[in-house]
């Protein structure tokens, strides 16, 4: 056969990258959120990609080569006497979080430019990864980035969760938005790639916005809980106060030195919600020993032991309301811990 033969040339190139990015818009009552996902593709490869098909891989792909380094090699497979794959033990190995593949397609027909809807991103599982294929083709000149819509889900139920944990967050209250990547939350079809989310709130019928905060989150598998940290707030206040302290049950050894004792601390925690909407508050308390007992009183909500030295109180507070919980913590020291 002679004549023109269509061929496809494939090669690895560097300088093409992408990141996921999200915009959340809360309803006025903050019970639901419209979640829009985007992918922003950046072309710094040195080459203009015109009418290219864009496919993105979500996952951690193991690579042992630096493509840019390979491109500069004098010989494509190196030469004898020189290491081909870097140092021993893979110290120079590179792993990519995200991969991108662009394939040049045929020149676009004028009618294609008449498209009326944002392109769909087709998501499918592929081995341990997820493959995002952007419908149709894209033109991304060298140096340009392009943001493409990935999904748009309205009415995702969310919970305003406020957390207090001195050892982790200091003496302030942090605001979280929580939901789950599952069907009940109108999500759950695919994992959600990690990225930055900016959260706004719709403040009126005209859909004017208020800016609530932003958060970076990790890759969210299907069925996983999501907690978006929107930062410190002053509108929900948690104030723990040590109200009483004493020691008791001293034990002495045969030399009359102290060998054991108990420490009893009476804590009061005041929780105030100054917001116009109901909120959920989680308070974690960490103890400096694994030998303890606790007695709760007041409005302590749901109490649970998180681990060997941590407990958690979860409370629901109505709009502009406050609650007080109390607990008496007894810790056992020395020989008292052995009982």
């Amino acid at each position: 056969m002679s004549g023109k033969v269509p061929v496809e040339i494939s090669y690895l190139t560097s300088g093409l990258s992408w990141r996921a990015f999200y915009l959340g818009t809360l309803s006025t009552d903050e019970k639901e959120m419209r979640l829009k996902g985007y992918v922003r593709v950046t072309n710094n490869s040195g080459e203009d990609y015109e009418n290219a098909q864009v496919r993105l891989i979500v996952g951690k792909v193991h690579l042992i080569d630096q493509i840019a380094q390979l491109a500069q090699q004098q010989y494509p497979f190196g030469r004898p006497g020189y290491a081909v794959y870097g140092a021993v033990g893979g110290a120079q190995r590179a792993s990519g979080n995200k991969m991108m593949r662009m394939m040049n397609a045929a020149a676009m027909d004028a009618s294609v430019a008449m498209e009326q809807a944002p392109k769909q991103v087709i998501k499918e599982g592929l081995s341990e990864y997820f493959l995002y294929t952007i419908e149709g083709t894209e033109t991304i000149p060298n140096g340009w980035s392009k943001r493409l819509p990935s999904f748009d889900t309205a009415g995702v139920p969310v919970v305003n969760l406020y957390k207090y944990e001195e050892e982790r967050y200091g003496r302030g209250v942090l605001r979280f938005l929580s939901f789950k990547n599952d069907e009940e939350h109108k999500l759950g079809e695919t994992p959600i790639p990690g990225g930055m989310i900016k959260v706004f709130r719709s403040v009126n019928k005209e859909k004017n916005l208020s800016y609530e905060g932003q958060s970076n989150f990790k890759y969210i598998p299907v069925e996983e809980d999501v907690e978006l940290n929107l930062g410190a707030v002053q509108t929900v206040v948690v104030e723990p106060t040590l109200m009483e302290y004493h020691t008791e049950n001293y034990r002495f050894d045969r030399w009359e030195n102290i060998s054991g004792w108990d420490e009893v601390r009476d804590f009061k925690i005041e929780i105030k919600n100054t917001r116009e909407i109901p909120v959920k508050v989680e308070i974690q308390r960490n103890f400096n020993t694994t030998y303890w007992k606790i007695k709760n009183s007041g409005e302590f909500g749901k109490y649970e032991k998180v681990d060997v030295d941590t407990v958690k109180y979860t409370l629901e507070l109505g709009p502009k309301s406050q609650k007080t919980l109390n607990y008496v913590l007894t810790t056992f020291h020395g020989t008292r811990a052995e009982i």
């Binding site: 004028a110 944002p118 392109k119 208020s210 800016y211 009483e244 004493h246 502009k320």
Partner: protein, 378 residues
């Protein structure tokens, strides 16, 4: 610096891709900027200022490319949002492109018809913020204040806002323009005859115990307490933190500055405590009258392993003023302790802090004695 912001549309039906691919390095920027219809400056988030502006785009049927660029201003590109207002169902934002080395983006918009389209562009803008200040004018008797709060709008963003609606999360909206490098003070809260409580606070951990031994006068901090509630003609919202200046009518038609303080957020129902200065007309002298070890326990080597400590404090409070005064006396007892006797009532602020509220008659003197045991000291 004058901002150059262009918002314009490049309209073609076909061949746009070629045009862009060929002219990516030097995009044409010549279409006149559509006037802003309305602008909202939203200041409810203390860290970030959100701008919303409405403009009218002239769209053609098919694909439209709209360029939004900004120079000399700091806009978070990821925060830029475009909302279609007039034909929300028939106009769709397809994607956003970002040219290299420019503060700009290009929206690709699909329109089902050729028409004027009102859109709302929102973005987070840096270097424009607000401060809150309070001014309290006390009457001669120091029983109430005229309470005003101002919003200080500071615009160093690089952007001029000829007309804007300025909003906090509560209070009235302001219809004001503000130019770059301009600062505006706007009154947004005013309440007359807000009751105040004047309090003097002496803290044993801060103030000197024996003023006679000090060459200079020992001042006792004086504060005004304003409760953020209905009775105070306040209480609709939490009061944001800010600087408070307190003045007083001098009885001659003028006012005197009594002092100023920085306060934090005051939730509804809570007190705003404004420290205005020190008083030298109330004198507190405190002395420890007893300090001894008791209940000593030794080990077999005759070393002390555990003991209690018995202590007694006597406090003399003198009011040299011709008026009554309410003194808060703060005492601290570290560790584990037991009160044996106190001549005045106290309230427990926490395990180691006691507060005595002592009402003092004009030109009077009071004495407090309290006797306690610190326990199980090693």
């Amino acid at each position: 610096m004058k901002t150059i912001k262009r918002l314009y549309s490049i309209i073609t039906l076909t061949g746009i891709i070629t045009v862009f691919a060929a002219t990516a390095e030097a995009r044409i920027k010549l279409v006149a900027l559509p006037e802003r219809l309305t602008t909202i400056i939203r200041l409810d988030n203390p860290q970030f200022t959100l701008i919303e502006e409405e403009r009218v785009l002239t769209l053609q049927r098919g694909i439209n490319k709209v360029d939004f660029s900004w120079n000399g201003v700091s806009i978070d590109p990821d925060s830029i949002r475009l909302a279609i207002l007039t034909h929300a169902k028939d106009v769709t934002l397809l994607n956003v492109s970002y040219p290299p080395n420019e503060s700009a983006l290009v929206w690709e918009i699909s329109s089902a018809g050729a028409w004027e389209e009102k859109v709302r562009v929102s973005y987070l803008l840096s270097n424009i913020d607000r401060l809150i200040t309070y001014k309290a004018l006390a009457d001669k008797q120091e029983t109430a204040v005229d309470f005003k709060s101002h919003l200080i709008l500071r615009n160093f963003s690089g952007e001029d806002f000829e007309h804007a609606r300025v909003l906090l999360d509560y209070g009235q909206a302001f219809e004001r323009g503000i130019n770059h490098e301009e600062t505006k003070q706007l009154l947004f809260l005013s309440a007359g005859k807000v009751p105040i409580k004047k309090v003097w606070k002496w803290d044993a951990a801060i103030q000197a115990w024996d003023p006679e031994k000090i060459n200079q006068n020992v001042g006792i901090p004086v504060s005004y307490k304003i409760t953020n509630d209905d009775e105070s003609r306040l209480g609709d919202n939490a009061l944001w933190g800010g600087k408070v200046r307190v003045y007083q009518e001098d009885g001659h038609g003028s006012t005197i500055l009594l002092g100023e303080d920085a306060v934090g957020l005051t939730p509804v129902g809570e007190d705003m405590e404004v420290y205005i200065g020190d008083s030298r007309d109330i004198v507190v002298t405190q002395r420890k009258m007893l300090d001894r070890k008791i209940n000593i326990r030794y080990n077999s080597n005759r070393h002390v392993v555990l003991y209690d400590n018995e202590e007694q404090i006597t406090t003399k409070i003198e009011n040299f003023k011709d008026s009554e005064a309410l003194l808060t006396l703060v005492q601290h007892i570290p560790g584990e302790w037991e009160m044996k006797r106190s001549t005045l009532k106290y309230s427990l602020k926490n395990a180691n802090t006691l507060e005595y509220e002592i009402a003092l008659a004009p030109n009077s003197e009071k004495e407090l004695k309290f006797h306690y045991v610190r326990k199980n000291i090693r």
